[in-house]
């Protein structure tokens, strides 16, 4: 066996040992690099919703717009103030939405096909929000119950094709009760990854019942509030 051949074999052996040790080191580092999931702070909640809304303007509303339910599209952002132990976060939030209703216009003489009549409303609210998430946090029951209360504002416009008849503001109070299903239980690891990478702690789908006294508390305001309306949507806590 020549010296050259021995040298080559030694070199190959060294390279092999080096590769194996490098691979082991990599495997070791992969195992040791796994961190335990630590949830990030929950500071905000955002809600995207769609629902039906009809103001208390009967029977003129039904005469003009029939059974038009909107829909109402809205966005809400809550800022968490603090967490009540074994209850859930207390927050303040703001919401803004948009809804429009349309129907056929008419004339005093009953002439048909003379255009359309419409009304649009931008409802806005400032809300105190209490989210009771103790079921999900302490008992692994993936439901969050929420109550909301606060002043409600609405800017509206109404008219017929080519003409605005009226526009203005109405003010009142809004209440809401919500039940939400936390989706984390469907794929716990994905939920943790969403938190680690994007800071989204929880994602939920919700159903909300609410009412408003907008324009019904005196003053010369158009009564745009409603006894009961509903909405559903997606909620993210981050």
């Amino acid at each position: 066996m020549s010296v050259t051949r021995i040298a080559w074999m030694a070199l190959v052996a060294l390279a092999w040992v080096g590769m194996v040790s490098s691979a082991e080191a990599q495997i070791g580092s992969e195992w040791t690099s796994v961190h335990q999931y630590e949830p990030t702070d929950e500071r905000f909640t955002v809600e995207l919703r769609i629902g039906a809304y009809r103001p208390s303007l009967e029977p003129a509303f039904t005469n003009a717009f029939g059974g038009d339910l909107g829909p109402l599209l809205a966005l809400e952002l809550d800022v968490h103030l603090f967490r009540i132990p074994y209850v859930g976060p207390l927050a303040i939030g703001g919401s803004i939405g948009w809804v429009e209703w349309n129907g056929a216009a008419s004339t005093a003489g009953g002439t048909a096909n003379v255009g359309s009549t419409g009304m649009s409303l931008l409802p806005m609210a400032l809300l105190a929000v209490l989210r009771v998430d103790v079921l999900a946090r302490e008992l692994d029951i993936p439901f969050v119950l929420t109550g909301k209360f606060g002043p409600d504002f609405g800017y509206y416009q109404t008219g017929v094709t080519g003409r605005t008849d009226a526009e203005g503001w109405s003010v009142g109070l809004r209440w809401a009760a919500q039940i939400a299903l936390e989706l984390d239980f469907l794929e716990q690891r994905a939920a943790h990854r969403l938190d680690a990478e994007w800071g989204i702690n929880h994602s939920l789908i919700f159903f909300e019942l609410y009412g408003s006294t907008m324009g019904q508390m005196g003053g010369n305001m158009l009564p745009l509030g409603t006894d009961l309306a509903w909405s559903l949507g997606l909620q993210l806590t981050f």
Binding site: G103, T111, T117, E167, N220
Partner: protein
């Protein structure tokens, strides 16, 4: 162990080469890829507009032909001859999908009396090496009467002498110009009576054989008495069914085969309850205009919507309703999103100022 990078290192140069190749392909000017003279079809504007700079694929209309408005043809890549100045010659190759091959000398030889190509009385000096715009008169193509509707293939040739019938031309020395003339008016539409306030929707039906129209013109006669009730239908109007449309229209509606126009009752000077006569003409792609449609009546009426219904329900007149809801709640004006945004902005500003004051205190 280092990851395998070879496929990536090969892939990137391949992609780069492809991109560069595509880039070069796109970067080659179209003119460099052409051989011989060719037409650079300009756009004289869609039908209904007055721009007539360059010949385009839109057909020529009867009025355009009768006025003999020159078709501006832009020609690129004109050939060059050192020995003999070249001129353009225009030959008619006939109609249909397979016109006569006028580039072949024998097809232009009129001495036999049966030449499939005929020379159009037109020629002009050729300026080689530059983009040249030449004018072709519609009546040279379709005759002085403009009755020869249809398509024609015209051969625009660069030859050493006008009426050259002895030279076979190569593709470098001629280009085919296909022109379509539509000499017939589209059928007049049928208009229906309409009523409304600020948006009176005038609708009409197009003739069954009308495939594509470019625009419609709406004419309103406020002085017409034919729409006044109680006249026994004996009233008159300056608008007459089947007549040539007036030169000035109240409104022109453009777009693919329009069938409706919205008139503002106040803008055309109608009081509530007043009527006016209305008629419509339509224009096809060749800008041929139909005769006037039937004459219909429009009436300006007060249109009621939700607001009228709500005020009536409250037992209020419109004025009382406004007075009651005026102030912080209601203001009346144009329906503009600007007002809404301004109010929202003010509300937010107020909230921000209040928050800041609280923080300071």
């Amino acid at each position: 162990m280092a990851p395998m990078q070879r496929p990536q290192t090969l892939l990137l140069p391949c992609l780069g080469t492809l991109v560069i190749a595509l880039g070069l392909g796109f970067a080659v000017p179209a003119e460099a890829q052409m051989t011989g003279i060719y037409l650079a079809y300009g756009d004289r504007g869609s039908p209904g507009t007055d721009s007539s700079l360059y010949f385009s694929t839109w057909p020529i209309g009867l009025a355009e032909c009768q006025a003999n408005t020159p078709l501006q043809v832009q020609i690129n890549n004109a050939p060059f001859s050192v020995t003999t100045p070249l001129v353009y010659d225009l030959w008619n190759g006939g109609s249909g999908p397979a016109p006569a091959a006028c580039q072949t000398a024998s097809n232009r030889l009129s001495s036999i009396g049966m030449a499939p190509c005929t020379r159009v009385a037109w020629d002009g000096p050729m300026i080689s090496g530059v983009q040249q715009v030449v004018s072709v008169l519609p009546q040279d193509l379709f005759g002085a009467e403009c009755t020869a509707s249809g398509d024609r293939a015209f051969f625009l040739m660069a030859v050493s002498a006008s009426n050259d019938v002895t030279t076979d031309l190569t593709t470098a020395n001629y280009v085919v110009l296909r022109v379509v003339m539509n000499g017939s008016r589209p059928p007049a539409p049928t208009v229906r009576d309409a009523a409304g306030d600020n948006a009176i929707a005038v609708n009409w039906m197009l003739g069954m054989d009308t495939l594509t129209l470019s625009s419609a013109r709406v004419f309103v006669d406020r002085t017409a008495t034919m729409c006044t009730s109680g006249d026994g239908g004996m009233g008159t109007s300056t608008l007459v069914e089947g007549a040539t449309p007036p030169t000035t229209a109240t409104m022109t509606v453009t777009g693919g085969s329009p069938t409706t126009a919205t008139l503002d009752g106040a803008a055309i000077g109608l009081a509530y309850g007043a009527t006016a006569a209305v008629a419509v003409s339509v224009l096809d792609l060749a800008r041929n205009e139909s005769v006037l449609s039937n004459v219909a009546c429009i009436t300006r009426v007060r249109v009621g919507g939700f607001w009228d219904s709500y005020c009536a329900e409250q037992g209020l007149t419109e004025a009382e309703c406004r007075a009651r809801y005026d102030g912080c709640s209601v203001s009346v004006g144009d329906r503009s999103p600007g007002a809404a945004l301004a109010m929202m902005g003010l509300a937010l500003l107020g909230a921000a100022v209040r928050t800041k004051k609280r923080k300071k205190s």
